[in-house]
Assembly symmetry: C2
Homo-oligomer: 326 residues x 2
């Protein structure tokens, strides 16, 4: 069993392997006819990032007894390519200036280049993942198609103070939890795990993905310079995240009106006001409790797996999703 | 052997089959969790279009002896989905107002929705095509990746009067000829055709694809209301098509300067001037000759195939690419 003090190093190693595989992919494509497209996409692709989806894929494969980790790397990388493609495209319509600490692609090269670079990474992802067996490609395609549905739902609810928690979960399930679930269950399928194991890892992915997105949304309100984007991006864009949806439900009369006003006429000098209202409604605490619940349920789904280093590392990732710097 | 008077009806039948398969796909996705995305993409997807890539795929499959046409439909449809995805995205950065005779998606729903709808169709294409064997997915992915490279090259040469014929062919090979080649060779692979047959159909696809794009570019200069977009779109956008590249090479002194001025300061009242210059340079004739050469070479590559109705129809498509309405 991996000792706790080695956990950090072991996770770093997995991330390094993903980074190396991405670098190899970039090098390889730079010798092909699609080099101009990779030349454009490479900076954002190699600009870092947590690589959480591919790392979960690698660890899941190991944890269910997969013996040829190299064979699952294409699938793992595919999940990161899809993720990066959506980030590039999201940044266009969110008009974001920075991502992963570097200027967004469209802000340096124009919208056309941003669209094409994202398209290219989608295509590359399916070129890699498409080599897998049919049920894996199907699950991967389903997850990617649901990202589009989740994003449309999110756009529909921009600035909508009547957004429900169910709407919120439908959005984050499409955008984030589904791709996490797919990364885990596809890796398990690739290792030929039994169906009940595949199902358990699929559920694990949903829960840890929800926790992950909830933490992201919480950090947008509380601030975290390591995210590579400024605090309050969501609020400025009118994105309805769970703490805000919760506060809109819990607050009444004057406070409810004040919150609506803050959201509809937001500017950076109203941070104090917003934070106070969210605290008064208990919305930070509520979100933190939900995050803990998702992490607990994620862990429960891992109980079907035999103990292993990989399993311990997966649990650690789930736990850490809560503890990211605020 | 199919009689000539039945050719038209036979081609219509194939297109109808493609249209039906697309309608079935739309209906099917409208019952799934990605329905919001399909709801957005369906109008442009079902707005007609020549369906030339999928029809070529079906006919190729038949012509090489494939016996289960239904089995190749997913692959055929995938080529149309990728094509439509690129149209939606192209229209965003080309700022086009209409496509296939209907308003472009981004002009009615905004850029965000246009980007997401295109992404969704890319993903759906690979979900369908990704069920095929590895070499097919690889070829499909390669073609789609090269679309991105071709588009970037095109953007790079916008307004560039020094664009060479080689640049032009690199652009149209990526954007159009490669996807045609992939549609044909993938269908042949799916029918388990011998490698020399697959190679011949790949070459056929390149040649017919080049003819097709050259005709499109010629029609942009001469006008064709059936294309669903106004004449001169390319000229207004500064796209360097072959007749223009040719004229810039052939004309000298005053005429060359006049052409450069027309291109750099184009407006609709300069159509007469532009047409005269292109005629004086023999550029229309030159483009028509090249189109004929590509069609001839396309046909030569079909000689390896035994005679069949499907082969006769493929030849007809190649010939018709020249004769589209001017």
């Amino acid at each position: 069993m991996v000792s706790l003090r080695n956990v950090h190093r072991s996770l770093e190693q997995r991330r390094d392997r993903v980074d190396e595989a991405l670098e190899d992919l970039v090098q390889n494509r730079m010798t092909k006819s699609d080099a101009p497209a990779m030349n454009l996409a490479r900076d954002i692709l190699l600009a870092g990032g947590k690589r959480i989806r591919p790392v979960l894929g690698l660890l899941t494969y190991e944890a269910v007894g997969g013996e040829d980790v190299d064979s699952v790397m294409d699938l793992a990388i595919a999940s990161e390519l899809i993720h990066t493609a959506t980030l590039i495209h999201d940044d266009i319509y969110d008009q974001s200036k920075t991502r992963r600490g570097v200027p967004t692609l469209h802000s340096t090269h124009g919208i056309s280049h941003g669209i094409i670079a994202g398209d290219y990474l989608f295509v590359l992802a399916f070129s890699l993942g498409g080599r897998c067996e049919e049920r894996i490609v199907e699950r991967m395609g389903e997850a990617a198609a649901n990202i589009a549905a989740g994003e449309l739902l999110q756009l529909k609810h921009i600035g909508d103070l009547g957004t429900t928690p169910e709407d919120y979960y439908a959005i984050i399930d499409g955008k984030t939890a589904g791709p996490f679930a797919s990364a885990c269950s596809c890796a398990a399928m690739h290792a030929d795990a039994a169906q009940e194991i595949v199902d358990a890892l699929e559920k694990f992915g949903w829960e840890v993905g929800r926790a992950f997105q909830l933490v992201d949304d919480l950090l947008d309100l509380t601030g975290d310079p390591s995210m590579g984007k400024p605090r309050g991006t969501d609020v400025h864009e009118g994105k309805m995240t769970l703490p805000i949806i919760h506060a809109l439900t819990m607050l009444h009369s004057v406070e409810r009106e004040q919150l609506a006003d803050v959201l509809q006429n937001f500017s950076d000098d109203r941070w104090g006001e917003l934070t106070e209202l969210l605290e008064s409604a208990g919305s930070f605490e509520y979100a933190k409790q939900l995050i803990q619940n998702h992490i607990d349920r994620a862990q429960e789904n891992l109980e079907v797996l035999p103990d292993s280093d990989a399993k311990a590392l997966i649990i650690e990732i789930a736990k850490r999703s809560r503890g990211r710097r605020t």
